[in-house]
Symmetry: T
Subunit: 147 residues, 12 copies
């Protein structure tokens, strides 16, 4: 049976396309969802793609993922830098989580260069725009041993 990868997007990622395109690119979140679903099909992975602006909701999606998903890809947006609750949820879930960012956060403001997610994620992929989600799915496939 196909394994499931939960792809979670944090605050303001629903604004992609119009939001500061010189930093985040011109693709919308729907474009990225399609990119992920298509590449998931190619890899034989079921993709469950979601977005929330609410820290608590993201926490609960990760908590529940421990039961129903095999791995998660997390672009926590601004919560990357401020949410210890998300870090704890990852550690509580026992799920392998891959951290993704559209921009290269290490070339931005100092407060964007610290990540609580990194302390629990398997690995980090950043700076490749929407293409980074494709790389993350490939990494998930690698971790899940399907490749």
């Amino acid at each position: 049976m196909a394994k499931t990868v939960l792809i979670l997007n944090g605050p303001n990622l629903n604004m992609l396309g119009s939001r500061e395109p010189e930093i985040y690119g011109h693709e919308t979140l729907a474009d990225i969802e399609k990119l992920c679903t298509d590449f998931g099909d190619e890899l034989g992975l079921k993709v469950d793609f979601r977005q929330s602006n609410n820290e608590g909701e993201l926490v609960e999606w990760i908590q529940n993922a421990g039961g129903g998903a095999d791995a998660a890809i997390l672009n926590a947006g601004a919560y990357t830098h401020t949410s210890i609750a998300l870090l704890d949820a990852i550690q509580a879930s026992g799920l392998p989580v891959i951290e993704v960012h559209l921009s290269n956060i290490f070339q931005r403001e100092p407060f964007r260069q610290e990540s609580y997610i990194s302390k629990a994620a398997v690995g980090v992929i950043c700076g490749f725009g929407a293409y980074g989600y494709r790389l993350a799915l490939d990494a998930a496939a690698g971790i899940l041993g399907d490749k």
Copy 2:
């Protein structure tokens, strides 16, 4: 047609009046709403006044404001100092935002002297109690060219 100014209030501002009045004054949030609506009428501005204790809800109000409002006044309360998500929402919305605080935050604890909102706001008004909302509406009128 009258321009609209969204006035957003963050966590615990619903407690005004009873909450530490030596810092925040004796006026309730309803008093401030009335003050704003009245002065908005005077300036020919429509006022949309809201409060939320939820970071995600505030983020979404700002995201949506990009469509329906002409400017925003934001007293983000405690989220001023901790919410990069609000900062990102302001930058994503493209809306002119005026930051307001009832107290002079620079005479308070160090953690209240740092503001993520300031990094994206047009300007800051603080220390004038409820009167600061009046000044902010005047500033909005100035920015919107109606004065």
Copy 3:
């Protein structure tokens, strides 16, 4: 009439039992709720026990507690270290609040050693696992003058 103690649990405490038991112990949150209700009965205190992963909801529970409870015990989990909104809610509520942690946070990562709750709480109890809730209830009884 019996006094009421509100016991609030923050994010990921609903995961207790399975979540990193070497740090947080093997008892579930339901076990702790029973422990508290039983010991509250013994002390003649009514216990109102809740959990939320949502910062805004916790803020509002504390705001409302100002009206209906006599004291609160707060294990704010990850929000301990990041939520100025909770600190403000405690100060706005005027309620005596006792801070509890299952683990000894001073033996963990540096970011877990800073607490915004401590700035407004009557006192702190940490490192005693589920037993710490019992101690906190006893402390509440002491503060409420029932002992």
Copy 4:
């Protein structure tokens, strides 16, 4: 009898208009003086508008204001960030002082984000260009109870 508001401008503000207009705008200090005098007339306030590049002179103007003025508006320019002597003068004068900056200093170099004036000022208004002086006069009127 009309109350008097002393408006003091610090170093390099005599260069306005030609000085880095992308930061400070195209209005000269004379333009701002006229704006203030006119709006003061409207509010029934006498305006005493001055500029100095000399820290000691600014200190003495504030010391003396304690005797002859009812409130002061202070744009201390670069001395905002370096002059404890000005802070002391404000505290010694007992005068209500409103801090103004043309630019939003919180979006500039770190050394421009610290203000000694803020430690004694009633409140701060920054980022609104010359319009900020108008807001400050309005705030002064509010403080002096004339509005």
Copy 5:
């Protein structure tokens, strides 16, 4: 046979009652000793209660406790913040130690918010005045499995 709990008090705790009562309360150290002995009787624990102003003496009491006591409660007073020797003694003794403070040290000067004792103690109880010793004895009973 009754288990023994060593209760150690550090410098200046012999001054309790007269020493800054707004911080430390009006009870003398003799009052607290009685409170502890009485509650120890209730719990079936033998209490050995001491005070010293001398760091070396406290170190040796803890070293020796490893042989004759079952647990210790330590209010190290000012040495809490400066004595690595006490930390080492606790680690060398192998004894379960409970850290107590009368005041909530997290609302005091920054240098009182750092504790070397916390790095080796089972847990911390602070802010409950003399009542905190009672809680600590209860915690000791819990740890010793007598409750």
Copy 6:
């Protein structure tokens, strides 16, 4: 004609396989070279794979790459954290560079969490072991528009 990707490995990467395998895995550098060459063939990319323990040599390889390669993948090992010369070489070469690390450097010592390479790299991939090189080659293909 096939595009060329230069893959550079810094100090001690020649020790892979035997070097702290719990951190760096059991694959040797020759294994990784083969993995890269094979996957490069699949992608239609020529791979030029090298290792040096010498900072100056790595600098010159990057300088020269500006002439003969289309992109570079750089695992600078320890020089990641100390070599401004490598950063300058990347900026001087004008080459798109992808930063790779075998381990998740954000879960290691603080000095391994700072990277000069990140300041000039297109993006970062870390924590996926040898598989990260495969992801980097895929990213290079994406950047070079061959995919």
Copy 7:
């Protein structure tokens, strides 16, 4: 012939008496001058007592003192904490300088606890109010060998 001691007072010391008397006391600068002149007579020292709000003027008084005075007592007020120019003037003058403060600066804001003057002064006397000037004159007599 009687030796001369120059006593220099910095910014806002002309406000003494009315200025925050709970910190600086109720004596005016004229009172202190009289106290110094009288005690100087007693010690056989000529006192030259001055005040300026201007950093440059204070610098020049110290420069010139190198020629005409035997020692100096300096209460540099706010310039204590910000004026490297005064430090340099002391070092250039070769004059023995005694630093005085009315208040105990080590119990005040952090920025008042740093002194550039201390780096060149013979010694420091602070916290004794106007009486500190008397002590400083006595110290000067000691240094000048007249006692």
Copy 8:
């Protein structure tokens, strides 16, 4: 009846005369005791002069002084920079304490420029060698109103 001033000297002050005379001068502690006794006689003050290398003993001398002395002069030597216990003893004793140092500690190593004693002392006198004890006695006389 003559008032009593306790003069306490901390660790290594018994070594004066031979100890680094270029910093501490050539006078022995016995010389300083005589200087103090003589000048005390002149002022009508009884001097109780002691030295200890033991932090706990100094703490107890201050605790007891609260009963038998009218003021204290404290040169805590190295404990100045490390002993919170001495600070607490001063605050517990309620005694006016004058801090003295032979050398100008602000021209020495950074760790000698921080003083816990200063947080509770009436004032500080440093840099005048043995003469500083004379000034401190004079200051004590001033505080005790005998002059």
Copy 9:
């Protein structure tokens, strides 16, 4: 027509020759003025050489230089490290400014190693004593295209 170079010297530079000659050399400011005038003649540059101990006066000389000089050489002495007002004046004047120091400030106290002037100056020359003024004049000639 000959171009003009304004050479400004800050506080205490009027003391050269006698002032700490082991740091600043034995030449007086008059010697340096002559050196500059002579070398200016050689280069075909008019030299306007001044000194002030007053920050405000230096600010105004730079403001005015924007009108009458072609370049400036600035040895701001102690104000180098403390004067944001001078930095602003340079930026407001639009004048090319060359920063000069007699000593190598990077081998001195930490507070002398920070320069506000450097943030706006074309370049920096330090450590060459009076000869540095000659180098600065040569640099000015280079910038003004006269060489």
Copy 10:
């Protein structure tokens, strides 16, 4: 006549053998004393071996050593990191002191990586367990010119 080397051991070193043997080894302090006495015999050095948990006592042993010993070896245990009094005693004694630690303190907690002793010791030997005392004795012999 044989020269004497004083070997001083600080707090908790009397616990060696049972105290955290994975850090400090299984040898008791008596074992180390024997090792030192034997090797001293071999080198022709008289060994005076002591231990104290009391800072003041260690200070006095060093003070007195200045009279009776030729060199000292000091393992100050926890006081290494907190005792400026010991540093001062070493400087006052004029004795060559060799600092020893059983463990490699640079691989332990940050607060164990700072040493006041190092600022006055001839040299440091750490990380070699009990064998380090042997090396220190050899070093003492070297310094005393007996080898």
Copy 11:
């Protein structure tokens, strides 16, 4: 006989002309070498001009220069900020070294504003592009007494 000045250029300076010309200018290193040789001829100085990307080679050139050159000019490029080995080589060589940078490093990233070279260099010249080498040669002539 003509004196020799060694001019050493560090990593990536061989890339000048094409490397970020908006920072480093359009002149190649060969252009600068010619400029130096020509101006050296004018001054009667022999110029030995070299470049290396290798820290060790630069170290050795400086070590050897102690024997064969009279002064050195060093633009250490990125090694300026990271190489203590170069600092040590300068100190070991006893050679007068002049530090040069093309750009004004004080207007660049913080890590480029720290220089190990400055701690041993006679002086620093930066911000004047290739012209700075000319100034440095002139400074060398001054130091060597040939001018």
Copy 12:
């Protein structure tokens, strides 16, 4: 068969004897090599003594040592403080490494007080000049169980 100890010396140690002898002593590196070879003979240890100014070469010597030597003594000179590559090489080699410094680095500049080598070395010996190499060889013999 005799065991081999590799003794590696880093940059500028080839300059010993002439290089700052007040810090490093008058012995040349050849003197130290002879001292080591002789004492190695005495201990039955083969000594392989080398020096390099090149970080990469030192890295490779350590890498290779893992195969052919039994222990290493490393005086990494300036690379002690900057080379993570050396730290990694030690960890990769699995070799017991003893860190040596001629001077007591804890009495020198702050940047010389941090060592990357210490994080992997068995122990540290510093401050004993050339004699420290002898102590290190003795320590190696102890570790290798030959003594």
